[in-house]
Symmetry: C2
Subunit: 501 residues, 2 copies
Amino acid sequence: MDIKQACEKMKKLERRRWAYGHAMSLLSVDGMTVAPAESYMGRGETLGILSEDSYDMFINDDTGELLEFLSSNLDGIEDPAVRREVVLLKEEYDKDRCIPKDEYVEYTMLLNEADAVWHRAKADNDFPAFEPILEKIVAFNRKIAEWYDPASSSRYDTLLNEYDRGVTTAMLDGFFSRLGSAISPLVKEIAKVQDRVDHSVIEGVFPIEKQRILSRKAMDYLQIDPKRCVLGETEHPFTESFNKYDVRITTKYHDDDFLDNMYSVMHEGGHAIYEMSYADEYSFTSLAGGASCAMHESQSRFWENLVGRSEEFISYISPTFRELFPSLEKATDRALYEAANVSMPTLIRTEADELTYSLHVMVRYELEKALIDGDMKVHDLPGEWNSLYRKYLGIEVPDDTRGVLQDSHWSGGSFGYFPSYALGNAYSLQILSSLKKDVDFSGCVASGNIAPVKDWLTEKIYRFGRLMDPNDLIESCCGEKFDAGYYTDYLEKKYSDIYGL
Amino acid sequence: MDIKQACEKMKKLERRRWAYGHAMSLLSVDGMTVAPAESYMGRGETLGILSEDSYDMFINDDTGELLEFLSSNLDGIEDPAVRREVVLLKEEYDKDRCIPKDEYVEYTMLLNEADAVWHRAKADNDFPAFEPILEKIVAFNRKIAEWYDPASSSRYDTLLNEYDRGVTTAMLDGFFSRLGSAISPLVKEIAKVQDRVDHSVIEGVFPIEKQRILSRKAMDYLQIDPKRCVLGETEHPFTESFNKYDVRITTKYHDDDFLDNMYSVMHEGGHAIYEMSYADEYSFTSLAGGASCAMHESQSRFWENLVGRSEEFISYISPTFRELFPSLEKATDRALYEAANVSMPTLIRTEADELTYSLHVMVRYELEKALIDGDMKVHDLPGEWNSLYRKYLGIEVPDDTRGVLQDSHWSGGSFGYFPSYALGNAYSLQILSSLKKDVDFSGCVASGNIAPVKDWLTEKIYRFGRLMDPNDLIESCCGEKFDAGYYTDYLEKKYSDIYGL
C-alpha cells in the first residue's frame, strides 16, 4: 500500500462513516420533530442495527492498520488538511475501540429512548420518571471517561475534552471564578435599580402566525439560503447539519413572547451559518463542521447577542416589530432595546439575558463535576439544582419542569457540553474585537448588510472547519491567546449603560 | 445447521433488511417533506452507500445457502407464517441477485435525483428537462424485467407482478375492456344531463387553517391514533410506513377546494389503517404490510370513496363543513352529496370522480405497455398522453404540468403500479358486499362509529399482512373468486341515482 492509495482508502472510510452518521442523525431529528410518539421503538431497532454496522465498519484491524500506516507516514502527506484528517480519525479510532461494541449499541438505543422519557417527564413535572434512565446515562459517561483515558485523575476533564479540546476543570474553575467576580456585583447593582428599564413595553399577546413571519425575516437578515437550511419547531431548539447543503434548525413559539422565538432563530441560525461555510472540499470528511463546541457556541451567541441584542439591530428590525404587532406601535427604539436586554435572575437558561446567562452554566458545571467526578447521586439532582439556583441566582425553583428537567443535554448524553456556552460567549467578544479592526460592524448591523461580517468570519474562522484546534484558531484569528477580559468588559459596559450604573 | 437455528438466522436477516429499508425510506420521506431543496446531493451519497451495504448484506453466498436450506426443508417448519417468510424472501433473493450491484446502487441514486428533477419540471411545465432522466428510468425498468424473467414474452407482465402477484396484461386487457364498456355509456349519458347536479354549492374560498381542522376531523373519524401516524404536506400525497407504530401520511391544500384535501386524508388514511393493523408478530418481517398494491389501494379507495363519498358520511360530516365554512351554511346534505360526486372528465387523476377515475388509469396503462413492451419513445410521451386523454376522456390537455408530469410514479421508478388503482377499486366493492353480510355498514358510517367496520376488515384482511396472495385473500374474505361486476354495478347504481338516469 502506498500513501496515495491509503489516503484514498481513508477518504472512502470517512465518507462511509459520514453516511451512517447522516442516516442516524436524521432518525433522531425526525424523532424530535415530526415522528409520531410511538415511533421510538422502531427507531431504536434501526439505530441499534445501524450503529452496530457503523461500529464494525470503523473498528476493525483493517482500519487500525490503515490509520497506523498513515500516522507513521504523516510527513509523506503533502496536504495539511489530509494530515489533519489522519490525526482526527486516528484519535476517534483509538477512543471508539475502547468501547465494547455491545455497550456502544446499547447506549445508542438508550439515548433514543431517553429523549421520549425526558419529554414526558418534563411535561408531567415528574423527575422520578426520568431518574432511572438518567442514572444509566451518567454511569455510562463515567465508564466512557475511564475507557478513553484510564490514567486521567479527572473523568470530567476527559469528557470536557470531547467537546472542547484542551479544556480542563482547572482552567474552567479559573474562568468561571473570573466571570462570577465580574457578573455578581453587576447583578447586585442592577437589582437595586431594576425599575430603570421597563420590560412591559414588550409584553402582550403576539400571534404565532405573525411570529412565523418574524422568523422568516430573521433568517433573511442572516442571509441563510432556504434552499440549504430549513426551520422547524421543537420544544428545545437545535441545529443539525447533515452536510453544508442540508442544515436543519428549529425554534419554539410562545404567544406571550415574540423575542424568545426571534433569538432562538438567530442563535440556531448562527450555528447554521458556521455549518454552511466550511471549505467545500471538507464535505464528508472529518474536517467538516466547526472547530469545537465552544467555537460553535461563539458563533451562535455572536449572531444572537452581539448582533441580535445590539442597539443597531433593534433599530433596524423595529419597523417590522411594529408592523407585525400593533401593540408595539408607540415603543421607541431605545425602549425596545432596553426591554430586550432586561437583566434579572430567571429560571430558564435559554431565555436568560446575557448577563445572568453564565450563572446558569455555572450551576450545570458544578452539578456535572459532582456527578461525574464526585459522589453526587442522580437522585439528589433536583435538590442540588434548586439549592444552586438559590446560591447563584437568588431565586426559588417552583418545579422540576422549570428546573432540572429544562434542558435536553443530559437526556442526550451530553456531559461536559455546558461550559462551551460560557466559553463561547467569551470567544465571541474576543473575535468581535478583532473583526472591528477590519469591518464597520455597527454600520453593517444597522444597515442590514451583514455580508462583510459573514465574509470576515468565513475567511478567519468558518472555512477552516476542524482544521485547527480552538486555541490555535483563536490565536490565528485574533493574533493573541484566549482572553476572557473582552467578555467581562463588554458586560460591564453594556449593562452600565442600560441601567445607568 | 438445524431448522430452528436457520429460522432464527433468517429472522435476524429480515430485521437487518428492514432497518436499512427504514433508514432509506426515511431519507426519501424527509426529502419529499421537510428537507431543503439542495439536500438531494448529500442524500444521494448516503442512499448510495446504504443501498450498497444493504445489497451486500442480503445478496451473498451465506444468504443463498440459508434460503436454499430453508426452502428445501419447508415441511419441517411448523408455523405457516414462517414458511411464507421463507418463500417471499427466497423470491426476493432470486430476483435481487439478478441485478448487478453497481446498477442497483446507481439506480437508487438515480431515483433520488429524479424526484427533484420531476418536481422542478412539473413546476416549470418543462417535460424536456425531465425527459433524459425518465429515459434512464424506463431503460432500467426494461432491464429489470429481463433480469427477473428472461423467458417471459412480456416485460410489462413481469413488472406488473412486482406490485400484484398473478396480474398479467391478458387479464388487465379484459378487465379494462369490461370497465370501459360499463363506464363509457354512463359518461356519455351524464354529459347530456350535466347540469342536473350543481357543483357551485361547494365552490368558494376555504382558508387552509380551517381545512387543517377538517383534516384532523377526518383522521379522528377514521380512528387513526396520532401517536402512531402523523399527517404532513406534500404536492403529491403519499403514505409511508416504517412499521405499524410509525406511519406517515401527507395531504395537500388548495384554498378553492376543501374536499380535495379531505379525500386525500381519507385515501392515505385508508392506506395507514391497513399498515397499522397487521399482526404484531409480523413486525420487521417479510409479512409486514399489505397483501399487494391493488389490495392496498382497495383499502385507500374503500375509506376515501365507499365511506367518504357516501351519502351517509356526507350527512355525518356536513355540520362540520358548515361550522368551518360559512358559505356552505345553506347547502342541504343531498346537495353536498351530489356536488361531492359530480362526474365530469377532468385532467388530474387524483382529483377525478369515482366514475371517470379508471379512465385515467387506462391512459397510463396503455402508455406503460407501449413504453415497456412496445416501441414508444419517452420523447413521444406528452403527445401520446394528450391524444389518449382526447380518446378516453374527450378533453384537451393544456400543458404537461396538468398532463404527463402530474404523477410522481414514473419519477419514482414505478412502472406497473397504476393498474393497481383500478383493480383496487374493483376489490373494494367485492369486499364491501361481503362485509355488509355481517356489519351494518350504512349505520356505522352514518353514526361515526366505524369500529365494527375496521374490526371486520382487520379480521378478514388487515391482520394477515402478506401471508396470502391477493387472489387467495379475496377468496378467503369473500368466499368467491375476484369479480369486477360488483364495481361496475356500484358505478351504474350510484351515478344513475345522482344524475337521475
